[in-house]
């Protein structure tokens, strides 16, 4: 209410103005998206005069096309995903999940975990906040698994490099992994492995969490703009680096070089990839172009996706942060169950595709 008062009275309809800006940006976006392919070809084969079909020429044309394409996709789609996210926050999720039991609660937590943005520094407040509200441990863990596992950046990168089907497959399998692992963890009665202080924290009685704000479309649009700029700025170098490495592999590594070690028939490749991926952390923007290149050299889809999921969902830094609220036993079980679920998913895809 206060915020509306401070707006200049001249702009009678800031919402309309914001939407007009969005439309203008969309127009520029479409124009740009349609000129990057000819521009990349011109740069590689015209300006740099590299012969068609040469390794270097192909690698560079790939790089010049993919970098702007992915950056455009990321800016555009992250903007709209952020717009969607202005309607949901973890506080609302907590109120919605609070009254549910296991089962339905897990499904809802997985769904909301997928759509809310994840920041590893928020995982502890989130955990404590859910426990305070009396939400069962398994449901809380479902949220804590799905939220990092499903990342909006990964989703957009997958659309850009693999297409809609694989991106959807990632969404569905990630949410399912969160639901099932959380449910299993909930059944295991692990409450005693939660640090005791978590149960002692009581919110002050006089705290009013209702923020005095009513968001207009104009507010939502400007917030999404800021957050899209922020996210794309953060992943910019990961995209450049990932695509550079991917382009190198694309142009120089022989076809089928990886069939023997990452192909369908190497049964041990799924667990090995997942184990390697657990301690590692990379931004999804950096890992997906590399995964895509591996795929084109004979790695199988299930193995590649399992590797990617374990890199983005589990990491040493995340485990260290969770150690503040979870005892080592629970962290070990937590990682074990998620790793097993990811391995299973990898095998399923290798079998089905």
């Amino acid at each position: 209410m206060q915020m509306n008062l401070t707006k200049p009275p001249l702009q009678k309809n800031p919402d309309l103005r914001s939407w007009a800006l969005v439309a203008l940006a969309a127009f520029v976006w479409i124009v740009l998206y349609n000129i990057i392919q000819p521009a990349a070809d011109w740069l590689a084969y015209g300006l740099l005069a590299l012969p068609h079909g040469s390794h270097l020429g192909e690698s560079l044309a790939f790089f010049f096309y993919d970098v702007p394409k992915l950056l455009l996709l990321l800016s555009g789609m992250i903007f709209f995903i952020s717009l969607l996210q202005t309607f949901i926050d973890t506080q609302k999720v907590r109120t919605l999940v609070e009254k549910r039991g296991e089962g339905i609660g897990n499904i809802m937590a997985a769904f909301f975990g997928a759509v809310t943005p994840f920041c590893s520094c928020s995982s502890v407040p989130l955990f404590i906040g859910f426990v305070q509200a009396g939400i069962p441990l398994g449901i809380t863990l479902t949220f804590l698994i799905t939220s990092p596992l499903i990342s909006e950046v990964a989703f957009v990168m997958l659309i850009g490099m693999f297409g809609w089907k694989i991106a959807l497959l990632y969404l569905i399998s990630g949410t399912t992994i969160g639901m099932i692992s959380g449910f299993i963890l909930g059944r295991m009665k692990l409450e005693r492995y939660v640090e005791g202080f978590v149960y002692d924290i009581k919110p002050r009685a006089n705290i009013d969490l209702k923020l005095e704000e009513k968001l207009t479309w104009s507010d939502r649009i400007s917030r999404s703009w800021v957050s899209a700029k922020d996210i794309v700025g953060k992943v910019f170098w990961f995209v450049i680096f990932g695509i550079a490495v991917g382009a190198g592999i694309h142009g120089f590594v022989p076809e089928n070089a990886l069939t023997a070690i990452m192909g369908k028939d190497a049964w041990w490749s799924v667990p090995v990839s997942v184990l390697i991926g657990i301690p590692l952390y990379s931004n999804p923007a950096g890992i997906i172009p590399i995964v895509s290149a591996l795929l084109s050299k004979g790695a199988s889809l299930g193995t590649a996706l399992a590797f990617m999921m374990s890199v983005i969902a589990l990491s040493l830094p995340e485990a260290i942060i969770l150690r503040r609220v979870l005892k080592p036993q629970l962290i070990a079980i937590f990682i074990g169950v998620i790793a097993a679920a990811i391995i299973l998913t990898g095998y399923l895809f290798n079998l089905a595709m």
């Binding site: 404590i128 906040g129 305070q132």
Partner: protein, 90 residues
């Protein structure tokens, strides 16, 4: 005199929020102390589920995102106003 608290365990977003708060205080010449609350039990006493959180005179004005300097400015002005009116009422 305002008390501004930044709730957060010290991640990058919390530091950015702190910078914004300090800048607003400095630029507007507001009498305020900016405190960091970094211990989880203290943060969670405010009942938020995502950080960073911003508290002005014990009132939560934002959490889970980094507000713009303009927004912080509005909240600081509001807090000053309500502090003034409660003084005159006395």
């Amino acid at each position: 005199m305002l008390t501004i608290k930044i709730l957060g365990s010290g991640c990058a977003n919390c530091k950015r929020l702190e910078q914004i708060a300090r800048k607003v205080v400095e630029e507007t010449g507001t009498q305020a102390e900016v405190l960091k609350v970094t211990e989880y039990p203290d943060i969670m006493a405010y009942g938020i589920t995502s950080t960073p959180g911003l508290v002005i005179n014990e009132k939560i004005v934002s959490y889970g995102r980094i507000p713009t300097p303009a927004e912080v400015n509005t909240w600081v002005a509001d807090a000053l106003q309500s502090a003034d009116s409660s003084l005159t009422r006395r």
